[in-house]
Symmetry: C2
Subunit: 413 residues, 2 copies
């Protein structure tokens, strides 16, 4: 590749068919935000929606808004919109609870669907909460099922006839590596196992075709690429064919066939609503809907195309301009197996990221040495990538990272 210039990046922005979306978000002035894979940004329309749901629907409508503002149908209504983003059908997705809680519900239900099988399978280094929830399930069932992990290139071989459920994150939170959903699902089905896909780093970032892949279950996050707001509710998917048999243990009243009959005995709702538990978090789910609506109005093929081009260019810039500073590239250079992020490695990664953040260029750090840069094509520009790498060059050339104030912490994905 010839030497890249900032003007080339500016030209790509001028030609970008998604460029108009940027104006639908309220980005802080003077910032470059490459952390939408951790917490997405604020849609301008979410400000108005927050006022509406708080001041009018809650404040004026009060209890009547369960009907008049249709709060009661939020889980399914927003779920149906998300279904369109992940290749699912209406009635297969609901919005509810957190990603972690949703994983527990579906993993527990999957174990019930595969009695006698003792293995839950995942990969080491999966997103921690996924492993923790499976460990919680294992402990709770007194070892009736055991979590085993296999490295990603050995996953296919590790799926066997004792496997009840395979739980994998489609796009890896740290490296951005992407599994072949169809191939793994097919292998699992060959031996009668089920698969649950964590789509937290996929939804709104890469094309997802759950039904085409024959997927059984999925969960996902509302506050990353969907721009639903901090701690937005998660979502979950259950393939239509599993719904009638699905028995999940968090059988709260919102999952009842007729919650307001107030009967003593639980009777699961006939469809996907049986995965609901407690009262819908109305404000959070209403803000999530705004982000989902924007994502649903964008062309996923264009998003993926821009995302991949950004990944290519970012890697090329790192190679051209940051050689000799000790960076490694933790993400695959093969775009077919890379999500919408590029991760670098550096032994001083933590301090370097802090120095970058001090310049209002926001990526994030994952221990022990990963610098993550997320590409969210609806609001990140090509020139942002140039300017980010330029800042890294200066930080390294000046030794700017090596200051005490850049050596403390915490962060959140």
């Amino acid at each position: 590749m010839t030497t890249l210039t900032r003007e080339q990046f500016a030209e790509l922005d001028r030609q970008d068919p998604l460029a108009g979306f940027r104006d639908r978000f309220d980005l802080p002035q003077g910032h470059i935000y490459l952390n939408g894979n951790s917490l997405g940004v604020l849609p301008k329309a979410a400000k108005e929606r927050a006022r509406e749901v708080v001041e009018n629907e809650w404040g004026q409508g009060l209890i009547r808004s369960w009907n008049s503002a249709d709060w009661i149908n939020i889980p399914r209504r927003v779920g149906d919109k998300i279904a369109g983003l992940v290749g699912a059908a209406p009635g297969e997705v609901v919005v509810a609870d957190s990603t972690s809680v949703n994983l527990f519900k579906l993993a527990a239900a999957a174990v019930k669907l595969r009695p006698g099988r003792g293995k839950l399978l995942s990969e080491p280094g999966n997103f921690p909460t996924d492993l923790y929830i499976l460990q919680g399930l294992e402990a709770f069932l007194d070892g009736k099922v055991c979590l085993e992990t296999a490295p990603r290139d050995e996953i296919l071989a590790a799926i066997d006839e004792d496997t009840a459920l395979v739980v994998l994150t489609h796009v890896h939170y740290k490296s951005g590596a992407m599994f072949d959903m169809a191939a793994i699902t097919a292998r699992a089905h060959e031996v009668g196992a089920l698969v649950l896909w964590d789509l937290s780093h996929s939804t709104g970032a890469v094309p997802v075709a759950l039904n085409q892949a024959g997927a059984d279950f999925a969960i996902g996050c509302g506050y990353k690429y969907l721009n639903g707001g901090p701690g937005a509710p998660g979502f979950l998917f259950v393939a239509q064919r599993h719904q009638a048999q699905l028995q999940q243990p968090l059988s709260g009243w919102f999952g009842h066939a007729n919650a307001f009959a107030m009967r003593d005995d639980y009777e699961p709702a006939p469809g996907i609503e049986r995965t609901l538990c407690g009262t819908t978090p109305v404000v959070g789910a209403s803000l999530l809907e705004v982000g989902v609506d924007i994502m649903a109005s964008a062309d996923m093929a264009l998003i993926r195309e821009k995302s991949l081009q950004m990944g290519e260019l970012f890697i090329a810039l790192v190679e051209q301009r940051l050689g000799g500073y000790g960076f490694g590239i933790a993400s695959s250079k093969d775009p077919a197996v890379r999500g919408s992020q590029v991760s670098l490695t550096h032994e001083q990664g933590f301090a370097i990221m802090q120095a970058l953040i001090a310049r209002n260029i926001i990526g994030d750090f994952r221990a022990p040495e990963i610098l993550r840069f997320g590409f969210t094509p609806l609001y990140v520009r090509y020139v942002d990538l140039w300017d980010c790498v330029e800042a890294l060059v200066e930080i390294m050339a000046n030794g700017e990272w090596d200051r005490s104030e850049f050596r403390k912490l915490t962060a959140v994905t």
Copy 2:
């Protein structure tokens, strides 16, 4: 009692030491709201807080707000404030998830603390989600524990050495009847059983003294008397003495001892934080904090005094003015065992409540024949009770309830 007059009620309002609180809430014009036991009203300060958390903390602070806006400590910070309302110590309460999810966590953990015991005990007609969650736990553990129910006057006798956990709602959602928390807890402890109190209709409504009663576990609702907003997160309490042994199955990353180390193995946080699961619902929890702050600034003894006086007067009005119309009084006339509501019965209760709501006087209906009227002393006036009963008199005298438009619907507690 001599014949009551509206002027007497107006005089009580003039003398009310809590009267100043009403101005801190944004009540819809021309409404009488007697449903704060179902969904509390909007604090004026919540409007500003919503803008702040959405537009500044999320929009401008983005991922940095986990630290700079202290999002990371919300569960514990708001939990400590709620602890003060329920007679718990700091470090014994967190805000998280929904009431239903929190019940599952703690009931499952309690079963683990009492191995070999096979009985979960509750009462028939408890709030449905409490029974449903216990049924879900029972099914999930393949009958290793079984839910039994006993009528409230037989509960003490039903607690035995096979009982792992008693789950009761302190103030009954329908009748307002209140259990003697200390007596039941003491009886359970005599035989080695644990008790979990659902405080959904107690917190902010009646004095609660968890530690004085020797309580083990409790859960509660954020959107009723705490005025936290629709679907606000719930809270949970674990007595300090149980925390180190507590093993709850929803072991998500926010409950980890060191979440951001991103290790593969779950290690529970040392204290109450081990009951957390997924990412905190920041917006909902931030709005809840506003309501909790107001409640924490009020004197619970005054709240209880006004609430009881409202109950007495409401019952007296119903008896004096609604005799002959077929109403019954489902709540106890003994204030010592009554929460902050009075429930009436009427075979046409549903249509009568609809007629009342059409006049912007909002109580609620619970099948098959209960009309609930909740008293929230921070914003309900004595004259509201007079005007409500006056409206009921007109509705009954005119046959106003007997119209077709009052015969459809649903409602939510």
